[in-house]
């Protein structure tokens, strides 16, 4: 018997001025998911079952950019993607362009376990989800007010915001504060926007 281990992530690149409460909320979610996964591993669960379970939890909470709380397309819709891989036998499954599947990672798991393929996308992935009886919801389940605000900001800046969020309050302060922040951060930018307007992730 070997030793178990687990790691989770919620995105890379963080606004250095992210409000403390937002940081704490993100850490609480990560800690809860870590505990969930560790308990399962401790009781002998398989790694592939654990990673699916943990990512489902993360998809269901709007704090990070996946599932509920996903970043939005230029049309204001959620279009999600996910993948899973089992090191035992290097089996894998992936989906892209899913818009109604509540937990994309579970659809990726079904592709791995119940299809002859490794990767299904868009309407093919949506059809397969219904064949498999996975839970489907309206696309607006995934859309949060916060992300609608961020999309508006991105359109105003004519930029693609990279996997990040902008706290609504920061949006108001985007101008002067961002400017000040820019000088404070030595002009550090991400996708054409000062890093200071980025938030969790």
């Amino acid at each position: 018997m070997g030793a178990w281990a687990i790691a989770v992530h919620g995105g890379a690149g963080v606004d250095p001025m992210l409000p403390e409460e937002r940081q704490a909320a993100a850490k609480r979610l990560l800690a809860r998911c870590l505990e969930l996964g560790a308990a399962a591993l401790r009781s002998g669960a398989l790694a592939v079952d654990v990673v699916e379970m943990v990512v489902r939890e993360l998809e269901s909470d709007p704090i990070f950019n996946s599932g509920r709380g996903s970043a939005l397309t230029a049309r204001g819709t959620a279009e999600m993607e996910a993948s899973i891989m089992d090191g035992r036998g290097r089996r894998c499954g992936a989906v892209s362009g899913v818009t109604t599947v509540k937990n994309p990672v579970s659809l990726a798991r079904r592709v791995m376990d119940h299809s002859p393929h490794s990767y299904l996308a868009f309407h093919g992935a949506e059809e397969f989800a219904r064949e498999q009886g996975l839970e489907v919801v309206n696309n607006d389940y995934f859309i949060t007010e916060e992300n609608l605000g961020m999309l508006k900001l991105a359109k105003e800046a004519n930029a693609i915001l990279f996997d990040y969020r902008v706290p609504l309050s920061a949006k108001d302060s985007c101008g002067a504060l961002a400017g000040a922040a820019m000088s404070a951060e030595g002009g550090l930018q991400m996708n054409g926007l000062p890093i200071s307007i980025y938030a969790p992730e």
């Binding site: 963080v14 990512v55 996946s66 230029a74 999600m80």
Partner: protein, 131 residues
């Protein structure tokens, strides 16, 4: 983007990644998260989940690179993660989490922070954002 990697008591490794992608992206844009070998990879040696600038992760086949550095290059887990993040991303900004088949856990990022957490059987547990 969110991700999880795990190694179980039987030594099996697995990885999963899920994302909404980029804000204001074109419809139909595919990032690194669903691409096996780029945003996600697992084999007997390790399991990796990546996050960050998708296009940079795809170009560098980041997740598979970590496994290849261990398989072919004989590097340990943290050394492979560090090399991939520091040497293979060109100008891109990204981060990743990884476990090895013998119970190790590692992470690396060249962005200014990464939401992450890790735990091992011997009681180590960490949840952090910054360096």
């Amino acid at each position: 983007t969110v991700g999880c990697v795990a190694v179980d008591i039987g030594g099996g490794c697995a990885a999963a990644t899920s994302t909404g992608g980029l804000m204001n992206k074109k419809c139909g844009r595919i990032g690194d998260s669903p691409l096996i070998g780029a945003g996600t990879y697992a084999c007997k040696v390790c399991a990796v989940s990546c996050t960050g600038e998708g296009e940079a992760i795809i170009r560098s086949t980041l997740a598979r690179d970590v496994a290849a550095l261990m398989e072919y290059g004989g590097l340990g887990l943290q050394a492979a993660v560090d090399f991939a993040i520091l040497e293979r991303l060109d100008e891109g900004k990204a981060g990743l989490i990884a476990v090895s088949g013998n119970g190790e856990v590692a992470y690396g990022f060249n962005a200014n922070g990464m939401f992450r957490g890790c735990a091992t059987e011997d009681g180590f547990m960490e949840v952090a954002i910054w360096r």
